[in-house]
Amino acid sequence: MKHIKIFFSTIKENLIAFFAFLIIWQISSLFFQDFIVPSPILIFNNFETLITDSLLNNLEITIFRILTGFSIAFIIGSIIGFLSNLFRIRESVNTVLILFQVLPGTVLGIIYLLIFGQGNAVPVAMIITLTTPLIAINTGNSLLNINQELEDVVYSLGGTYWDAIRSVHLPALVPVLRSNGTLGLGFALKIVILGEFIASETGLGYLLNVSKIYFNMRSVFFYLLLIIIIMLIFQIIINLIFVIFFEKYLFQTNIQ
């Protein structure tokens, strides 16, 4: 019952955000002509012509790239962040990670295009390179708030270093993984579009690029809307996974 309540509350929050965005967009479109900023109503009215088989194929390819790149970045980034905090080398590791994070995506895209050629590899490699540092830094910084007194409790009761990791550090990681999920997926989505823009002839980013060349703003905004919808769906799925399977670990924020 509690889970169902949280399920609907999560969806409600996301839908409110989505509708707020649509309202802002609708209001903004009043100040421009349709061929510059088409209104969301116009986009919705043209849904049938905009949704094609080719679009669905490209959408599938983009989602595959996001999930592949993000999964790898999520695992590597979370491990780096966790270990850097555990071994108290967070500051040094962050310095290195920030260097990677400031790499301009377009430059990286061109380098990867030269290395891998066109296809899945460039967007996926770009997601891994640019999202991993973000996730690692977020993990390390969030784990800084680990309750030292809880570790003291473990040790004072005769617990070992491994007991402290198992009872304090790993459970504290769960809310961090959730924020890594929502933060990282949004970032991965932005990067995949850039990667497909630069080095692919498939995917949503490629379609956006083609529409941009012909100034087909109706398609451009339609693809943007799709990107936002995908992001919202991802957010809902991640929140639900954590709320349903790891709910008790998320109480950490109001501890003691």
């Binding site: 009761l157 005769g158 617990g159 009872s167 003691q256």
Partner: protein
């Protein structure tokens, strides 16, 4: 049970404990009374091994020690029951009928029945402290360090818990740290009285069984002022 010899501890260059020589026999219940902010918690952490960089000697004759801290520090993802039984998991002690009996007795004394399934964020400060107390005693430790563990517990519940401890753990050694005069007579049979700080020694006061609470408090008060 506990012996400290010329124990010294500094934070940066500021001494907080100086030349402390303390002796606590097995089964003794000692109350360490000192004003706030004088290093009582530091001393507790030295005794239970959480602080290791100090000068002097600390000898504890048992490894089966429990510490109940000032703040309850419960595991946020564990229920009341899981928090209380947590030490068993660390010490590989099986939850059998004997442990269950101790557990039920603690639950009854702390009035936590019907709350066993709740998580810490659903409990009041006093309830959390009660859980921490039960957790500290569940594995039947030989030596119990209590660092002002009754701060957020109301008088009636405090009385009940103290009586329960005295009744069920008569052979155990206690080092009970407090700055609350009223708590001393109930738990201790000896007092280490630090007037100002832990730098210039302490006065040992033995509590006679015949002495009533008000006499003991009066005596301590006279020593202090």
């Amino acid at each position: 049970m506990l012996k400290t010899k010329n124990l010294c501890k500094k934070y940066d260059e500021d001494p907080i404990i100086h030349d402390l020589n303390m002796h606590l026999k097995r089964g003794e219940k000692v109350c360490l009374f000192a004003p706030s902010g004088t290093g009582k918690t530091t001393l507790i952490k030295i005794i239970n091994g959480l602080i290791t960089n100090y000068q002097g000697k600390v000898e504890v004759s048992s490894k089966n020690i429990s510490t109940i801290f000032q703040s309850p520090d419960l595991f946020w993802y564990k229920t009341v029951k899981e928090n209380i039984l947590f030490p068993l998991q660390l010490k590989n002690i099986k939850f059998d009928s004997k442990i269950d009996k101790i557990y039920q007795a603690w639950i009854k004394t702390t009035e936590l029945h019907n709350k066993e399934h709740l998580y810490p964020h659903e409990l009041s400060g006093g309830m959390k402290q009660k859980v921490a107390l039960a957790r500290g005693f569940i594995f039947n430790p030989d030596f119990i360090l209590l660092d002002e563990p009754f701060n957020s517990i109301d008088i009636r519940a405090k009385e009940k818990i103290i009586n329960f401890i005295l009744e069920h753990y008569p052979q155990k050694s206690f080092l009970f740290v407090t700055h609350n005069l009223e708590e001393i007579p109930k738990l201790a049979d000896k007092i280490f009285l630090f007037k100002k700080d832990m730098l210039s020694g302490f006065k040992e006061i033995i509590i006679e069984e015949s002495e009533d609470s008000s006499t003991i408090i009066k005596n301590i008060f006279e020593e202090l002022y």
